[in-house]
Amino acid sequence: MQLSNSKTKNEIGFDHVVNNINVVTPFGKRRIKEIQPFMPGDEGYLEHTLSQLEVTLDMVEREPRKVDILREVFMEMKDNTFTIAHSANNILTVVELFEIKTLLLQMTAIRDNLISSTIPLPEEFQLHDLLELLNVLDPGKDRLNTFYIYDVFSEKLTLRRREKRKIELDLRKVQKERRRKVEADYGISMTPKFELPVSKADRALIEKVKAIPELMLSEEDYITATFTLKRDETVDLFQMALDEINEAIDEEELAVQKKLSGRIASYRSLLEENCNRIGELDFNLAKALYAKENHCVKPDITTEYLIEINEGRQLVVEEILKRKGKAFCPVTIDLKEGVTCITGANMGGKTVTLKLVGLCAMLAQHGFFVPCSQAKIGLSSYIHILIGDSQNLQRGLSSFGSEMEELRVMLEKSKDRTLLLFDELASGTNPAEGLALTKSLVDYLDKKPYISLITTHFDHITGMGVVRNLQVRGLADANFQNLAREIRYANKRERIEVIGKYMDYRLFEVDKDQEIPKDALNIAGMLGISSEIIEKAKKYMEDRNHEK
């Protein structure tokens, strides 16, 4: 059973957070793809994961230099798990051996760095000691990140290579001697490459050179003829010896590669375990860095079913505001089993609050820290946000139709401990039926062991008595004179931002019978809808109130 669908994860901003967790190793990237939520009953494991993150964050804050060094090593790392697995039944190539040596040096650097840290990280992040294997690949203990089938790997190889150099030298000596002799005997002079180019115009010389038995014609065009030394028996013997020794060297190199591959294979499980641990460490460091950057805190996990968020922030919206140089107005909210409604002004941030609750719950449940000053969270079995979706409209479904379709699915999937978030339910149909539907849904949800949070513009849906009613403070306390003045001097695009500035996004609990403040017409007026329309609308409102 899944905790939520992908649309919910995307809408509340969970995907945004995950995408911004900056893991750098291939192992960390794999780890983040395997991210799984903790379900009710897993509270103990979740606590453990969160306390690991707490220690990691401690290291990020108190030993930033060490963290930088670790991340530098991380950035150089490549995914060698295939090569490690490959070593089991195959001879690794020189390049692969180089990569394993690099990996071992990196692991040693990480291990040393962690051991010397004043903040002991959890056992799960510590790496196994693979010094023994490193010494196999680096017997000289130079600890240089270079590789070749060096002479130290095999005495036989050393001898063979020495032999080869000697043969090459001897061959050159013999050739030089032959050239010297030919030059002396016939009074000619050859190039260091044992060549003799002769201009064809010089017929006499051509004839003379042609007659020299030690030389042969190697290249010819209509101007020049090039002669070289003929091979003789001695040269052929040397050549044969060289071929033989080259073959022996190749064989011995392969034997060394085979030996080294075998040793690597015998460490396979430890190597793979270390890769996983690096992935875990990378993932946790990235989470800790994100938590630090975004001022997230460790949530208290409780077995009770409740969600309490103090000064919570919705990270996606906060980032947009930050880019504009503005701050997010934090929201405090306590939710228990049952239905809670959020009412209040347009542009009052009701939808953002809805997403914020979903984000905090979802993050905590995946072992992340939470964007708020304090949080207490009980785990859910299912989380769903029902929110207008332009994609469904593109698919040709009416907004009401697709909303009802999704509502059916979400109610079917809900079971014990479910967090349901509704954004302006049934706003796409006629108000009378919409209100009726909302009221009856509230009655239905109230009997279930769910935490339901509903934003709405409908009055009195909370009439049943059990339901809690939260209201956005909105423009209630705003200085309207100042607001009106600012609006007057603002251009069209700035108006929305001016209103945002005066808006108080905080929530407070209100009496269930209290009327929802009617700010819509004021806001529409401020945004430049002509006064003719606004005034008439206000009159209609008065008439309606009289009728009541």
Binding site: K78, V95, Y150, R161, Y222, I223
Partner: protein, 340 residues
């Protein structure tokens, strides 16, 4: 002081550029490598293609094979490592990749033949060359993956060695003439430092034709200058002094410009490799008053001549060498097939 020591005192990275296929580029490279062995200099050997063209990415497989002495630093992609006959110590796995896998920097431990390849991207290439210098290379020789003059573009290297030879023509005079044309183009005057240069550089990032008339700068809404001749002609009015062309300069573009206007303006190009005009036409255009400046020109460290053509004819070594040296003045000319 040996020839290479002299080069390395002036330049760090030298591209070997062939005037044509089989002009002796690889011969030149091998010749310089032998020189280095004699002078005991540590060389860095790499090659490059040109950025932005698919064919080069594909023909990146056209890999030069060179005999390298121990100590040489060389760039070898992973897939070519095992094909090398030399013993190569892997020093570093770089982050640059080629069609043949990631590039590794190696030191030759046992002399032998190596298949060399390097990154195609100019920026990567420059960074990789710096790494090779870190590893101890005293001079880097860059072999273009494709025999084309355009790889000479400044940015890849500090200077070039231009390989020319009998392959260009059966007529020795023609070989000298063609080579001299390229030498002339590569050494076209730079736009001098100053306010005009700053204005052109600032505008050049937009990759549009730019007309400069006194203090006024005007951009034409044309990306390529290839078909822009007529339009350009109309846009040049009295007082237009400088015309910046972002793309190629071809005969067609110039032909569309009124002779009087041609005399009046000076063209500015990014670098000389943007010119696609033959030697004869170029001379005629110069007579008609064509003036060309470049933002960056190309230093020619040396010219190598190969008196042999693969199709079977050759020149007298001395004749070609003397004629070429006389034509190019103080640029050193070397006969790669020299016997002495």
């Amino acid at each position: 002081m040996g020839f290479l020591s002299r080069l390395s005192s002036e330049y760090k990275r030298i591209s070997i550029v062939g005037m044509a296929k089989n002009a002796g580029k690889t011969t030149t490279l091998n010749h310089l490598i032998e020189e280095a062995m004699d002078e005991g200099m540590v060389l860095g050997i790499t090659s490059t293609g040109r950025d932005g063209e698919n064919t080069d990415l594909v023909t990146g497989t056209e890999k030069p094979k060179v005999y390298l002495d121990s100590g040489t630093i060389v760039s070898v992609p992973v897939q070519l490592y095992d094909l090398s006959d030399a013993g190569l110590e892997i020093l570093r796995m770089t982050r640059y990749s080629t069609a043949l896998g990631q590039v590794m920097l190696c030191r030759v431990v046992e002399s032998g033949y190596v298949q060399v390849a390097g990154p195609v991207n100019t920026v990567d290439h420059k960074k990789m060359c710096d790494e090779m210098i870190d590893l101890g290379a005293e001079l880097i020789l860059i072999d273009g993956a494709v025999d084309r003059k355009s790889i000479a573009g400044p940015g890849t290297s500090d200077a070039i060695v231009l390989a020319t030879g009998a392959v260009l023509s059966r007529n020795l005079k023609k070989v000298v003439e063609e080579t001299l044309h390229i030498v002339g183009l590569y050494q076209l005057p730079r736009v001098p430092d100053g306010s005009l240069r700053k204005r052109i550089e600032a505008g050049a990032v937009k990759e549009k034709i730019m007309l400069i008339k006194g203090e006024e700068t005007r951009m034409l809404e044309l990306k390529t200058s290839l078909t822009a001749g007529k339009f350009l002609d109309e846009s040049i009015d009295e007082g237009t002094g400088w015309v910046y062309l972002p793309g190629a300069m071809t005969q067609g573009v110039i032909d569309d410009i009124h002779p009087a206007k041609l005399k009046q303006i000076s063209f500015v190009l990014k670098d000389p490799t943007k010119i696609f005009i033959g030697a004869t036409s170029w001379q005629q255009l110069r007579k008609r008053g064509l003036k060309v400046f470049v933002l960056e020109n190309i230093k020619i460290a040396a010219i190598t001549v190969n008196p042999y053509a693969p199709s079977g004819y050759s020149f007298e070594h001395k004749d070609l060498l003397t004629a070429m040296q006389k034509a190019v003045g103080n640029i050193p000319v070397i006969d790669v097939k020299s016997v002495f």
